[in-house]
Structure formats: C-alpha cells, structure tokens
Symmetry: C2
Subunit: 447 residues, 2 copies
C-alpha cells in the first residue's frame, strides 16, 4: 500500500458519514468548494498550487485488497461492497496552478455523488493547503529577490518526506530556481543544486585539502563552503587553489557563506576573490534566511549572487498554516450554507471574475454565482476534470512557473513588496448575497 | 519507487560529497550526532521521537533499478557501482522514543563509513526533526489536559500525507488518546475517533433528520455536531432524539461544539442535556484549539470531556521547526569540531547522564564524552542498531506511550505547565570542554 495514494488517507468520520449516506441512499450530486477564509497576517495575496497532485489522487483512487481487508471487520458488508467498486467519477473546476487569489474565492470545486465528494475531502485539503501555503511563501522570496538564484534547501526540516518534495515543487512553481532535494528533481524535473556540507570540510585534515578534493571532483561545478572555521581565511585558500588549478583548466564555480554577518562577510570575500582574479566566482549565501533577511541583504547591496532558503520556506515559518476549508455549497441541486459563528460560508456554485486595467494590471474581482449571475472580467475557475478524467493534457511545471511569474507582473505594484498594501478589491455579487440571505431566512422560518 | 523510503530523499550535495569521498578513499568510520541547538521560545523541554522511522529507513535503504537508471548519466561509473551495492551497515545509538531531552544533547548517533553516514543525513534529520517537533508540542497539550480525551484532528492541514501520519503517531506517543486519520490507525494501530462534518448536516433537509440518521447508523457511537446553525437549538433536538431512540435501545454518545464561545456553549449544552436526562452524553470540542485555549477552557471549568486538536498540533503552530543539526563529531577515530560563528558544536562521541532525586524527579544532566569520562546518573543513549540491524525487538507504540507518560511524571514540577520554568540544569563535562579547547587551539596553530 502506497501511503501517499491510499484512500484511507482520510478522516474516520468520512467513512462513518459514507456509511450513513449509503444507508439513506443519499448519493445525489454534491458541490464542495475549497477556499481560504482569510490571509495570514502580513500577506497581500496567495498563489494557488497543488492541483496536479489533487487530480492524480482523484484519478487513481481505489481501495486495495489490503485496505479492504482492514475495513471489512469494521464496516457493514454494504459499505465494503461499495468501496470495492469505488472510483472517483466526478467533475472538477479549478483555478490553474500559479493563479493569484484572495480570501473567499474558491480555487477548486468538486461536483460528485455525495459519498465520493465527502470521502476525498481530507486528502484534497491536505494537498491544496500545503502547496498553496508554500507557493504563497515562495512568492514573497521571489518578489524580494527577482534576479537572484533562489534554491530550496529545506527538505531536512520540512514536515516529512512529502512536504520536502511538494515544497520543492511549489517553490519552483512560484519562481524559485531549483532545489537541493534529489528526489524532487527525479519526480518533477526540477533543476538540482548542491554545494558541500561542513562535515566534508571537517572530515579532511585541513580545509585547503578539502577544497582541492572537491574542486577536482567537480570541475567548474564546485561551490566551496567557506565558513567552517574562518570565512576570510578560507576565501584566501580558494584564491590560492584557483591559481593552482587554473593551469589544469579547472575552475571554481562559487563559494558559500552559511553563518555570521552575511553582508559583511560577502563584501570581504568578494574583495578577496576579485583581488585574486576570481571576479566570476559567485557568492552563495544560506543560514536561517527568510524574505526579510533577503530584503535587508539586498538593500545593503551585499554582493551575493544566490540564496539557499531552507526552513523558513519549507515550513512557511511566519504562517505555517492557512485558514482554509472544503465546504458543501450545493446538494441535489439546492444551495447550502453553513451558519456556524464566525465560519459562515457563501452558498452555491461560484465563479470568480477578474478585471484588468488597460495596461494589464489586476484591478478587482467579483465572486458570483456560476449560473445566471454574469459579470465582466476573466473567469478564473476552469473545467479541469469531467467524470473522473482530466479534460486537458498536463501543463508542464515550467509552463506553470511561467504563468505564475506572469501573474506577479499583473499584481498591483503595492502588493509586490513585503509591506501590507490596501486590501485587493474582492466584491461578493448581489445575487450571491441575496441567495445567502434567502437561505438564512428559510432557516429562521424552519429552524 | 516508494518516495518515503527512497535513498534519493537526500540533498544533492550528499551525492556530490559521496563521489569525492569514494575518489579519495575516504571511507573510515564517521560519527554523526543529531541534536537540537536550542529550545523554541516558551518551551521547557523536548520529547524525542521518530527513531522507529529512522531505523526503518536505515534498515531498508537500497537503490532501486529506476533510481540507478536516473543516476547513471549523472555520476561516474564508480559511484553507480558503489550505489548498486549500497546498504547501511553502521551502528546507531539513541535515546529511546519518549525520552525528555534538552539542547546540546544528542538524541541519536550514527557510526558508519563516512559515505553512508553522510548520505542518510537529510532523511534522518527530516524524520527525527518532525516527530520530535510534534511529540514536544503534544506533550504540552497532554500536560494541560491530562485527564481529557485528546484526539489529533490535524491531517487536513498537516504538511502533506506523511506529516499527517507521523503527527498522529508522535502525538499518540506523547500521550494523545488517538487520531481521526484512518491510515494512521491502519499503519500504527492508533485508536481512531470520528464524529461528523457540517456537510453531513447540510446535506440533509433539516438538522434533526441528520441527527437521527447518524445516530441510527452508529448506535451508541454517534457524536453529533451541533453548531451548524444554532448550538443550543441543536442540543434540544439531541434531547428529543434521545427520547425517541431510547425505546429502541439506541444511545447517543456525545455532541461536538466547533465554533463560538466554547465554554459558554458547553455550559448551556450541558444543562440542556442534563435536564433532558442525558447526563452521560459527552461534550467534545474542536475548532482552532491549542494548549493555551485548552488551559483557559479547563481553568474556567467548562464542562468539556474531550478535545479535537488539529492545525496547532500538526504544524506545531507556535514553533513550526526546531533548530536542529546532524554534525560530524569524529572521523577516523579523531574528534572534529565545527567552529562556524554562532553554530559551534561539541566534538567527539558523547553520552548524556541524567540524575534523579530520591523521589525520582529529574535534577540535572551531564553531557560527557562517551569514553574515559564517567559520570553519575543514568546514561540516556543506548545501543540500538549494530552493523545495520536492530539489536532489540521493536517496542510497541503503547509501550513507548507509557514510557513517555512516566517521563512527564519525573519532570521538575515547574516544567509541567505552560509557564517558562528556570532552565533545566545541563552541564558540559570538563573533559568535553577541554577537548573542544584543544581542537580550537590546534586549529589556531594550523589554520
């Protein structure tokens, strides 16, 4: 059983509800929408991601013999018989990955028989939430350092293996240059980057020998880590090594700083390298970096060519979760509304329309009902899957990445910094507000 | 290829270093230790977890034909030949899962030929970091609510599938009662809990019918969610339903609150239930709970019997990462020390000795060299794996859980609340300090 695609990757109540739905014959079409309730503090927008993995999950969903064997003593025969034949055959509408979005805007809608749409809730949320979280975090780093090499270094402190892999994907999709995680390169074709660890230096009797071994092993590709003992001393060793190797036609690609005052070290090291004729040897920095440290380093004009960002990216350190939900908006053709205090939802099947200025800048969105509620602007939710099968060929990850970068260019200028901008205008259509009021009124009459 | 056990779940530099180690014949025994540099803000201690998964990873590590096919065009034939035969055959020492520990204390030590010990770094960190993070968070919730039912509800907002599964395991190990994640029940035997979702209520034409369907479907096991529309109105419906079903011998186990002022609602609902003769029907609460909200609810004596804790647990919301490291401490029999600014490590193979008062309370630890540096107290690091194989039979998860609960009972009283206590005394042995100074002095003489 592959845990990443198991239908048991769900909450126990989904199976308990499914049992009851089957007993009651409640298998009419249900419409669920996934949306984020509010922006994390300090954020201006979010970037949709994770759709590809959600679609893979839906397309391949079935119960294995081992899974059925585990379920059999726990659920009635009618449930087991249903699960044996279980396939997802619903429809999916979604914003393409890389789309910028805002609170209360559905980024995915599932229309399927109620037991199906219910069962997949937990994993669909798990995938969309996490990749959207990381893409939205990565967007901030990319906007702060748009012309720098940005590499995901975070797998070791990501929350498990899948988080490391999906963080590599989501950050690349959002504009990162690549990742250090080999398996993410293998699975998704993301460019791989790697330097060396302190242990490599420490395992050698002296630093200069370590540098030479690594440079000879990886001609023209070695990025040497120079902070294990003394950064500037190490930089002079790099210059000496480069002189020695030049005659053999071996170049040194770069050096990496990983501790201390990165801006000050970068300036000293740049000078040492330049005086040693290594103007083309790059300086790469890492070590507890986030978007604020990147901004400060760049605004101080520190001569750093690229950054490895680890933990802050892979756990989205300032906002490790999004307040998101997957809610029933329609069942058997009738709109539904949850009224829980502080958690009320907008009912019905919805569409989001986005308007642009003459020069292509986003100027405002309308969240409207999908039917009989037309609005100007570009509809953001597209049909993606019909009867359990993808409608379109996959977009490549590089195509999605290009689309994401184009989205940033259309954001209002004030939203492309780390400062809080005025909230982006998102209007709830009159028809949608009226529907919500009607449902509430009906509830009051018939509590 | 199962991504969760793939040896490519590593950083690219591990392979680049491995290539160089092989070229240089650097395959002497290396000693790496995993430790946490400092406590997250507001925390008094940590709980070691993840060892079981780390050992599984090491025991089963090998490169599949597909993985080798991917590597072949990217690395020289000598590297591929080495990886074809790659198995982990090193030794592991570790603190048993559930052990309370503090900064600078290794919780795991790997002794293996350098290329092996290096290659496994990324995944070993990824596993130990995350489970330790979650167990340490769960410990706080358990200490605040020791006699309540605590259930992990977090999979949907955990960072990917493995995070959801391992969070269920780590929180159960740390004293939780169970999880909602079905696959965690299947894989680890953790007790499963489930109630119902708002969508179940919404899919029905009215709430009372929804309650009745669910209660009949799950006799004596149904926990009814009562906040979809109006909590107190719903509670009166539960009373009416219980009366109706009593004659048929069907009981209702509990109700769940998920929004609003949980303490106020719990009091009203308790009264409604009691007046309706449902004194034994439990009240379960959920909705953005963390250890502080639990403490407040319990100190206000809110009549709540159990809690579902989701996002705050599964992402360790106040501290979504630990400042941890896996560092080379010895190579070829010689101790090693990293000197990077602010990140210097204690060199050599280490042991941690813990002392207890006469009544069994922890009173202080010594971090010492493993050899020729004896100290009083209980040694916490035990031999766990020899030559790539586990020495002992697995402890069951329930045994680990009992051990963890026993650990809490031995903590200094002041450390078992959410307040910051005086730092627990951890002393670095004189011999270890002298060794560190000697290594630094040698480095100054021979930079």
């Amino acid at each position: 059983m592959n845990p990443l695609s198991s239908p048991l990757l769900t909450d126990h109540y989904q199976l308990m509800m499914l049992q009851s739905y089957l007993e009651q014959g409640m298998d009419e079409r249900a419409v669920f929408e996934f949306f984020v309730r509010k922006l994390p503090p300090g954020r201006n927008f979010m970037v949709a991601a994770g759709l590809e993995q959600a679609l893979d999950f839906l397309e391949n969903l079935k119960f294995s013999p081992e899974e059925l064997a585990w379920l059999t003593p726990r659920f009635p025969p009618a449930v087991i018989a249903y699960l044996e034949k279980f396939r997802f055959n619903g429809d999916v509408h979604a914003m393409p990955e890389g789309t910028v979005f805002f609170p209360d805007q559905p980024i995915l809608r599932i229309t399927a028989p109620l037991p199906q749409a219910q069962l997949v809730e937990s994993r669909i949320m798990n995938l969309l939430h996490f990749e959207t979280l990381i893409a939205s975090k990565a967007a901030r780093l990319v906007m702060v350092a748009p012309h720098k090499l940005l590499v995901d270094f975070g797998m070791r402190r990501a929350h498990g293996a899948e988080a490391g892999l999906l963080a590599a994907r989501a950050s690349y999709l959002a504009g990162f240059s690549g990742t250090a995680t080999v398996l993410a390169g293998t699975l998704y074709g993301i460019p791989l980057f790697g330097t060396m660890a302190h242990s490599y230096i420490q395992a050698h009797e002296d630093e200069a020998t370590a540098f030479e071994h690594f440079a000879r092993c990886h001609p023209d590709r070695a990025t040497l880590l120079i902070d294990t003992y003394d950064t500037e001393t190490a930089a002079t060793k790099v210059v000496a090594l480069a002189r020695k190797l030049r005659g053999e036609g071996i170049g040194i690609k770069g050096v990496r700083l990983d501790s201390g005052d990165l801006a000050a070290h970068a300036r000293c090291v740049r000078q040492i390298l330049n005086e040693g004729g290594l103007e083309k040897t790059t300086i790469f920095a890492s070590g507890n970096l986030d978007e604020y440290r990147l901004r400060d380093l760049l605004s101080s004009a520190a001569p750093i060519d690229g950054f490895g960002v680890g933990t802050a990216l892979d756990v989205s350190s300032d906002a490790p979760s999004l307040d998101c939900a997957y809610k029933l908006q329609e069942y058997g053709g009738k709109p539904r509304r949850k009224r829980s205090e502080g958690k009320a939802t907008w009912p019905g099947r919805k569409q989001v329309y986005r308007s642009y200025s003459a020069n292509g800048c986003m100027i405002g969105d309308v969240v409207a009902l999908e039917e009989n509620d037309p609005h100007d602007g570009q509809p953001l939710l597209m049909p993606i899957m019909r009867a359990g099968r993808r409608i379109h060929a996959h977009a490549t990850l590089d195509q999605i990445r290009q689309r994401t970068l184009a989205e940033y260019a259309r954001l209002p200028k004030a939203m492309t910094t780390l400062e809080m901008a005025a909230p982006y205008p998102v209007v709830i259509s009159a028809a949608l507000q009226i529907l919500a009021n009607e449902l509430d009124a009906a509830r009051v009459l018939n509590p």
